[in-house]
């Protein structure tokens, strides 16, 4: 019987092909939108987002405007609940929202290794530690910019030699370029020596993140520059707040894609079934049960959706895997990554859409009057 479904779809080649293509395009977009949502969710959740604090200058937004004394690290380190502090100088080529954002983080190589969730995929860490203008770069930006170990990478006033490419379980990390703190401080026009953009605070396992954050701001209020300390997730969400609104809006685009597939496949199936009511009447006369023809129609619409959805999500996942896409603003980035869940959810969505699209005509065949359908020859 599956043979019959397949042959029916193949017989109406053009119609099936157009429907599958339409479904594929829509599910492709659905997948991309989904990966953006996932990226945003990852950025603001998980251990990296929840158990780390970012100390930033109060009322400042873009990394170039936040200037904190480097020695704040010593004061912060003494506060109860703080395990370690990483002073970071941030430099970005673009403070506005951009799809090709380049973000440098300057910090002590030893501390980067111990505090950041990075793992070298190629190159050498010791070369990074010993060479003044060396950098290790995330896999994503390496892919996007076509960079590899040994390359010289120049952007603006900054020129670094790539000592390694790293990967990370935190996808947004893979968009970063790490350099020595002193190197990044010195390469900037306005005097930055002794100043950093932010301090990243690693908490003791038992520490209450919000309490420690308040304590840091209170302690530093008396010093030269006032600070604002937040959990890393909250910090990134507020940094990207404009984008967060946009991304929140984009999920409607995802629903629109589902609606598109639904109406496309529903139209095709209804047309195809109404052309063939007599054929279904013949099948029922032969002895196919009403539920049997219902299943045949559903199989048709589900097959169209699954093939379209499979192609669309397949292309989307490949594009996400090898495109190294990321969107960023003010030094924070959202990485678009493929994931198993994304693939499964878009296939699941295709399946559901196929069932819903096929149900009305399927029920129509199950409830038709065989005699009347045979008479309308």
């Amino acid at each position: 019987m599956f043979n019959y479904v397949l042959k029916t779809l193949i017989r109406h080649r053009t119609r099936s092909l157009l429907t599958v293509t339409g479904a594929a395009v829509a599910i492709f977009v659905y997948c991309i939108v989904g990966s953006v949502q996932e990226g945003l969710y990852r950025l603001t959740s998980g251990a990296d987002a929840d158990r780390r604090l970012i100390v930033f200058q109060e009322n400042r937004f873009c990394p170039t405007t936040s200037r904190l004394p480097e020695d704040y690290a010593v004061k912060i380190g003494k506060i109860a609940g703080v395990k370690d502090v990483l002073p970071i100088q941030v430099w970005t080529n673009n403070c506005r929202a951009s799809l090709d954002i380049v973000v440098f983080n300057g910090a002590d190589p030893k501390k980067i290794q111990s505090m950041r969730p990075v793992k070298l995929a190629s190159g050498s860490w010791s070369q990074f530690e010993t060479q003044r203008d060396a950098a290790v770069i995330g896999r994503n930006i390496a892919m996007r910019r076509g960079l590899k170990v040994g390359d010289q990478f120049t952007i603006g006033d900054i020129s670094v030699r790539i000592a390694g490419v790293f990967q990370s379980e935190v996808p947004s990390e893979e968009n970063l370029i790490y350099t020595h703190l002193a190197f990044l401080q010195n390469s900037q026009r306005n005097e930055s020596v002794g100043l950093v953009t932010q301090h990243e605070v690693l908490l003791q396992p038992s520490a209450d993140a919000d309490r420690v954050a308040t304590e840091i701001d209170v302690q530093l209020r008396a010093s030269s520059v006032a600070t604002k300390t937040r959990r890393k997730g909250a910090f990134q969400a507020s940094t990207l707040s404009d984008l967060v609104d946009l991304i929140g809006f984009a999920h409607w685009l995802g629903y629109a894609c589902v609606g598109l597939v639904l109406s496309l496949v529903a139209t095709t199936t209804i047309m195809s079934v109404q052309d063939r009511m007599q054929e279904y009447a013949v099948l029922q006369t032969i002895g196919v049960r009403p539920l049997g023809t219902l299943r045949l129609v559903l199989a048709e619409s589900v097959l169209l959706c699954l093939v379209g959805g499979g192609i669309g999500s397949g292309f989307a996942l490949i594009a996400l895997q090898f495109g190294g896409f990321a969107i960023g603003a003010e030094g924070a980035t959202i990485a678009f990554k493929p994931s198993l869940w994304l693939g499964l959810s878009s296939l699941g969505t295709s399946l559901c859409v196929g069932l819903v699209a096929g149900l009305p005509p399927a029920i129509q065949t199950a409830r038709m009057s065989i005699v009347n359908s045979l008479r309308t020859a």
């Binding site: 013949v282 099948l283 029922q284 006369t285 032969i286 049960r289 009403p290 005699v371």
Partner: protein
């Protein structure tokens, strides 16, 4: 023994204000191996009679028994299963599934029965051989002539070894020569395979191939002729 029994079968249709009653308290007994032809004016209810016997239409009152099983009390799903196992239906036209080959069309009913792959193939091949189309098994309906198409339809109707085969004007849309071929085929199937046949026709000549001729008029069935076969 009667293979088919109709008792007090009544069926009427409403068309606006008027009610048409093509079957009015119809009784009929058909024995195993009989070939019954059914004639009557257009609109007299011949197709309606075939349809209620096939269980694709329901009666208003009365009982139909096939092989002692009362089909008038079966549900829609049960009727479908019953048809798969017990009924062959030969249509006038447009009866083959266009996307399937002759072989696949004949195979369709066997897919609804519990058969092994080997048994299935044997039955399909036998049915195609019986209608003389073994060499056209791989052809699609559009590649067959009208007469060949009808023969594939006949093979499909007999492939599951049904209790009763009904045919609604099986030669109605064929030219004289192909009509003769199909007639002799039906006659052969009845004589050689002892298949019980109930055939509607407009053509008095065609009716003569049957062993028994019935006439339906104004809701009543009249026996015209009965030839006892040796």
């Amino acid at each position: 023994m009667n293979i088919l029994e109709l008792r007090n079968v009544t069926k009427s249709f409403r068309k606006g204000d008027e009610t048409i009653t093509p079957l009015h308290n119809v009784d009929l007994d058909v024995r195993q191996g009989e070939f019954v032809s059914l004639m009557g004016p257009s609109g007299s209810g011949k197709s309606t009679l075939l349809n209620v016997v096939s269980g694709i239409d329901h009666v208003d009152s009365g009982v139909i028994r096939v092989n002692s099983q009362e089909i008038t009390s079966l549900s829609r799903g049960q009727l479908a299963d019953w048809r798969a196992a017990n009924l062959g239906y030969i249509f006038q036209t447009h009866n083959l599934v266009p996307v399937l080959t002759a072989y696949e069309n004949v195979e369709l009913p066997t897919l609804l029965l519990k058969l092994s792959a080997g048994e299935r193939r044997a039955r399909v091949e036998l049915a195609l051989e019986a209608v003389g189309l073994s060499d056209r098994a791989g052809h699609y309906p559009r590649q067959l002539s009208g007469g060949q198409e009808q023969r594939v339809g006949i093979a499909r109707a007999i492939v599951s070894h049904p209790t009763v085969v009904v045919a609604d004007e099986p030669t109605g849309s064929l030219d004289a020569e192909t009509s003769l071929q199909v007639q002799s085929l039906l006659k052969r199937l009845n004589q050689e395979l002892n298949i019980t046949l109930l055939m509607v026709t407009h053509d008095a000549h065609v009716a003569t191939i049957a062993t028994r001729q019935l006439y339906l008029d104004r809701g009543k069935l009249v026996e015209e002729l009965r030839v006892e076969r040796q």
